[in-house]
Amino acid sequence: MSGVRVLVGTHKGAFILTSDGKRERWDVSGPHFPGWEIYHMKGSPTNPDRLYASQTSGWFGQVIQRSDDGGKTWEPAGNAFAYDGVPGTHQWYDGTQHPWEFKRVWYLEPSPTDPDTVYAGVEDAALFRSSDGGQTWQELSGLRNVKGNLWAPGAGGMCLHSILLDPNDPNRIYTAISAAGAFRSDDGGQNWRAITNGLHSEYELPDPSAEVGHCVHNIAMHPSRPGVLFMQKHWDVMRSDDAGESWHEISGNLPTDFGFPIAVHAHEPETIYVVPIKSDSEHYPPEGKLRVYRSRTGGNEWEALTNGLPQSDCYVNILRSAMAVDTLDSCGVYFGTTGGQVYASPDAGDHWAPIVRDLPAVLSVEVQVLP
């Protein structure tokens, strides 16, 4: 029977949870890298035992870790993230220009075809690529040519937090950056443009339809339809049916359209998941009820999924990289909370249970199905 491995990055270390395909009993390994912030861990699609982890610290900076045995042992890889050329400047809080400064890696996206190629989304926002298993990193600096001087850090920092690689077109890459927007390259990351037509940020931007500046929280796609994108924006859940050329709102009957992660069912491209959060200043579920919302219609019509989730006095947050799905026949859905719980549903969201419940605040969740 297939097994499942859940990679959990937390505020104070990494944890790896494993189960068989029933997903009822879970073994917890960790903390790995105790005391460090683990922003993200992800495995190579072509070699599931090749894992990459972003290990970071306010004291000691950035470390990239790599495992070739599914997380049993790790080796530090390269951690030199040098911006290409003269880094230039971006908008600062006081309206002045501020030099680009590397702070940390938020997101790692291994190539779908080569275990030694991996992309890193970093703060201050930029995209890097390694083609030697994480030993050396090169910036794809064309991204910052898309009005990078106008980008400004949001409350969470100016981070590139989402990377989507088109499985049908190796030259097409999507990225999203907090308080800058969503971007697409059609030439392998050399040239980029903003894909923000249709986004409307009335309370965040002086020009609500500006080309850059939208606070995109997360983007997702189904691999069978890479031209269809889903977005959780600061406010608004959005959809594009033309590879980001235009977006329309699909918030529909959600109790609030603020939130962080968005995910797509592994086998149903029109089934999507969000976790509504009360507001931009109250980062917890409305009414203290932890509810995942599922749309089986590609948006607009949403149902609350509550079975097994706390329905009173729950005031945790679910961060943007902390939700994932597995690819077993009955699609599993997973998410982690800032309260240290990781919840899993083995039946596409109908029933939930905590698979671990007292970890440090969860920053990221990824899932692998093992042979």
Binding site: G35, W36, S57, G58, W59, F60, G61, Q62, V63, P76, N79, A80, A82
Partner: protein
């Protein structure tokens, strides 16, 4: 032989012990000791000083012989007791927060 005491997170990262011994050729300056430390433990590059500018990270301090050397220029010679191995150079994660 110069003794360097590392903070927990860094000696774990380097897969070594709290105290390491470093051989420095030429004058034993702060920079020379850090160069030799990073040569011996490459995974520490970027964790104590910036990769490019070689500036000390904000929350790292250098203590030796009850003195704080953190703000001294990198070319500062270390105290004689550190050079002779009598006392260690301590790399410290600074207090930050409550």
């Amino acid at each position: 032989m110069i003794r360097v005491v590392l903070p927990t997170h860094l000696w774990r990262l380097a897969n070594t012990n709290r105290e390491v011994e470093i051989q420095v050729e030429g004058p034993a300056t702060i920079a020379a000791v850090l160069d030799a430390l990073e040569e011996q433990y490459p995974m520490l590059r970027g964790t104590i000083r910036d990769h490019v500018t070689k500036e000390r990270r904000d929350f790292i301090r250098f203590f030796a012989c009850r003195e704080d050397l953190s703000l001294e220029p990198p070319e500062t010679l270390l105290p004689e007791d550190v050079v002779t191995g009598e006392e260690p150079l301590r790399v410290v994660g600074a207090m930050a927060g409550g």
